[in-house]
Structure formats: C-alpha cells, structure tokens
Point group: C2
Chain length 291, copies 2
C-alpha cells in the first residue's frame, strides 16, 4: 500500500483511515467469496487478503490452536495497515472472535453474526436451517447466535461436507452435485423450512443448485454476502466514517486487491478465481506464526 | 509396549526384534487401510499407528514441510521401539522416503513402490492407470516408479479428489458415489486400460464401486494391500527373520494395535473403524514436532 500524499496533519489522519485497506483472512481461499461480496458492495475499498493455506483446515483443530492461528493471521493484516479485520473463516469466527476483539487495535468482524441476523430477518414461518461443514455444525455457533437473536425459531442444523470438494472441483451443477444436494437437503425439505443459511465460505458457489433443490419457497442467506453488508454498515458508523468510496473522486477509482497465502498449492489460482468471480491477480507467499 | 522377559542375552535380541511392533504413520486415519492389510496378512504382528490429524493434509504442503513432518512422525514410532516404519501416507512416501531411510535406525517402507510393482505385474496389455488425489497425481511419483520398473507401459494418471470425502462420508455405493465414479473413470474406460492402481489410502473402500464402473476386464491394484505384502516379505528377509508369527505359540496369540493421533477430531472413531474394518479400540492423543 502506498501512503497518501500529506496535505496537512489534520486531513492526513482522516485520509489514512478512510484510504486504509480492509483486511480479510481465512484458513484457505474460500474466504475470497467474502472479498467478492465486498468488491461488489464497496468497489472503492482496497482489500488485503490472507489465506493460511499452509495450515488449513482450521475446522478440525482445537479451539486453542485456532485462536493462536487466527491471532497470527489478523496481526499480519494489522501490520499491513488495515482499518478493519474480517475473519472470513467460520471456524475462527466461531471460537476466536472475542480474543481478536480484545487483542487487536482495529475493529473486527466475523461471519457468524451477520449470517444469523439475516437468517432471522428472512424467515416468516420461524423454521430455518443452517448448513455447513461437520466442524461448523458440531460447534453450534450459528445456532447459538440465532437463539440469542430470536428464541422462537426452530433450527435444523445439517452438515453437508461434500459441498466443499464439489465447489473446489468446479462441479456446481452436474449430476454428482445434484445427487449430493438432493441427498443432503431432503431432510430440510421434509422439515418445511423457509430459509437456509449457507454457513461455509464455499457454499455460495452452489447457491443456484441448492436453491433449485430446496424450491422457490426457501430463501437462501449467504454469510459471505451478509458479512459484506455488515462491513459496509460498520465502516459507515465508526469514527465518523471510514469508507473509501465516499467522495466522488474515490468512487471513480476502484480499490485494489492484494492476496497473500502461506502456501501456494498448484491450483489455488483456478479455485481462487472461481471463489472471487474474477482473476486473482498477483499472489505472494508469506509465512505467519511459527508454522 | 511392555518389554519381553529376559531369558538370556542372546535370545533377548532376537525376541526383541521379532516381538517388536511394526510402526505405521499417515497424515490422518486413511493409513488404517494399510493396517487392515497388515492385520489380515500378519495377524501375529503388533502394530503402533500414528496419524498426524493435527497437521493433515500433507498433500497440499511443500516437500520441505512434508519431509520434516514425516521425520517427526517416524521418530515418534521409533521411540516406541518399532522394528519397521511404514509410511502409509502417499505424500510422505512420494517425497520423504529417501530422507527417512537415511536418518532412521530401522528399515522403512513406503506405499509407492509396492503399488507400482503390483500394477506392472497385473497388466497384460501394458495400458494402465493411476488414480489419486490432486497432490499425488501432480507429484508423479507413481508414474516415475512404474517407468523405472517397466519402460513399455502407457500410463493414464487421473486425479479423483472427491473419492476422499465420499469415503469419509461413508458414501461408498450410493447415487452420488456412482455418478462421481462414472464421471472420473470414463476417460480410463475410453483408454481401454486393463489395470488401475488405487493410489490413495482412502480408495480401497470404494474398490467395489470402482471395479463395477471399470468393468470385469480391469484389475484393481490396492496400494494398501500391496504394502502389507511387501512388509511381509521385508520382515521375512531381514536379519534372518523379524516376523512375530513364526513360532506356533505366537500364531495363536493375535498381535495388538495401539493407535495414536495428534488431534482427536469428533468423528475419527466412525471413520477410523470404517478404514480399519474393525472397531478402533482405545486411541491416545500425542503431540509430535513443534505443531
């Protein structure tokens, strides 16, 4: 990131805040679906993304280890001058958010709360579902967040782990994906839910298929998209506004995206571009923590 | 492991060698398919298994990191007094075997060579296939091993990554597994191969389905099973015999199995028992390396 030109000391601070990038981290590259949402909603914002591909997945690790990793990831972003840290990783959001809030010098946003809030707003019948990886569903963080917001909803929680490799394989609409979706989602159809939360960074890619299998009466809530909405609100509220896209000059100039990964797996570009919805651009490898 | 009773110094060494357990390590619990093969072929042998579930998967990591992890895993087994170390992990076998052989004080066996040898013996037409995870296929270790053994074979190498989560989900014969197998294996059928190597610890569980899709003219070579065959030969050859099942007394007494994992994920027992083909028994958590 290049520092803005100094006009006078007063405006320097305000500019620095508003023009600073947003930091997003995830255990891998799935968190690029959150970046996609941010770039759609806040095209003037620059973003620094860090994916901890060397240590993924987080979901199978202990809470203590996830907290340590999440803090190391976030501190890397803070060292790059971000004004806001978004934990796009569902496992990190579930177990490490309070620790991050306590220990970081910038505001922090996770994916659980925005998703839960949007799900509660979307349901009419009060019968909702959450789908995610085995680790996310077992942790129950979404269910707890939903219960805190609304005590009267019935929640069906269902692990749908095959959706991750299907998304990574790019099998989004074929017979394999269709058969898996029908098998996983049949219990949700039987429970007559009217809203479902896509509780994993990978799932937005399968949204068209999931929507078709569940039928037109079921609303799909995308945590990645809702987190971008929450980030927009957060930037507008704090310190009298931290949005880069406020003035007309900035609106015309699109924000940049810098990607850092802790390990460059051979197909991160293909998969990453799929999640991001645009080419990934240059990616740098960087080590964080002790490995 | 309890030390054998000392009779006299001479027999102590022989007994120690023959009665010492076999050590098997893997990045996770898929390596239990190798243990299954060992227990079937060498029921008198005791086995110590270590699965590095805290740091899995290895396949996406750099060769340097895989070598370090593999050495730490193997050293844990050696510290438990094993007479032979088997690297059941395909990634570790691909990149770290020479390092292990150089640095360990006990013999080492990987899964690549036994599988490649059996595949070369199985083919008549000289048209063979290797299937495995993306990392294994990209590494090309099986192709190199096959080429060293036989220069005249045509090799189709195909990544079939969804077979891993299908095996872990227990979806071995349903419509999802069937659709995935047909999609992945169609190019192999078109190439008219007559033998296929199951180049991943998870794949033996899907062998019935894979066999059905490929048709009766294609032989399936199971690396896990072939590694057990190689271990049997190795124990018979070295130092005038290291087999525990030699004397009649030992044959009647089945060997024990001790399982160690570096992280206890919530469903390792279900999945582990599926790979092992019998209940997993007690499992201890143990830390190796620096995390």
């Amino acid at each position: 990131m290049t520092e803005p030109q100094i006009q006078n000391p007063q405006s320097q601070i305000a500019n620095h805040k508003s023009r600073s990038p947003i930091g997003v981290f995830d255990s891998g590259i799935g968190g690029l679906t959150v970046v996609r949402g941010l770039r759609r909603r806040l095209p003037g914002e620059s973003i620094i993304y860090f994916g901890d591909t060397a240590r993924l997945p987080y979901g199978t690790k202990s809470a203590e280890t996830i907290k340590r990793f999440a803090l190391e990831d976030a501190e890397f972003l803070v060292s790059r001058g971000v004004k806001l840290v978004i934990a796009a990783c569902h496992s990190a959001s579930s177990v490490a958010l309070a620790d991050l809030e306590r220990q970081l010098t910038v505001p922090v946003l996770g994916v659980i709360e925005p998703g839960a809030r949007a799900l509660c707003a979307a349901t009419r019948s009060g019968r909702v579902a959450v789908i995610g990886t085995g680790a996310t569903i077992r942790a129950g963080a979404y269910e707890q967040a939903i219960r805190r917001l609304r005590g009267d909803v019935e929640i069906v929680a269902k692990a749908t782990p095959l959706f991750v490799p299907l998304a990574e394989e790019g099998w989004l609409e074929n017979d394999v994906a269709e058969a898996a979706a029908r098998r996983y989602l049949a219990p949700l159809v039987a429970e007559r839910i009217d809203a479902v939360l896509l509780g994993c960074t990978h799932y937005p890619l399968l949204a068209p298929l999931i929507g078709r299998v569940l039928g037109p009466g079921v609303k799909l809530v995308d945590s990645s998209e809702e987190t971008a909405v929450a980030a927009e609100a957060m930037l507008g509220q704090r310190d009298g506004g931290m949005e880069a896209g406020r003035d007309e000059e900035r609106k015309a100039k699109p924000g940049t995206l810098s990607c850092y990964l802790s390990d460059l797996s051979p197909n991160f570009e293909t998969i990453g571009s799929r999640f991001l919805g645009e080419p990934l651009g240059d990616v740098l490898r960087v080590s964080v923590g002790k490995g």
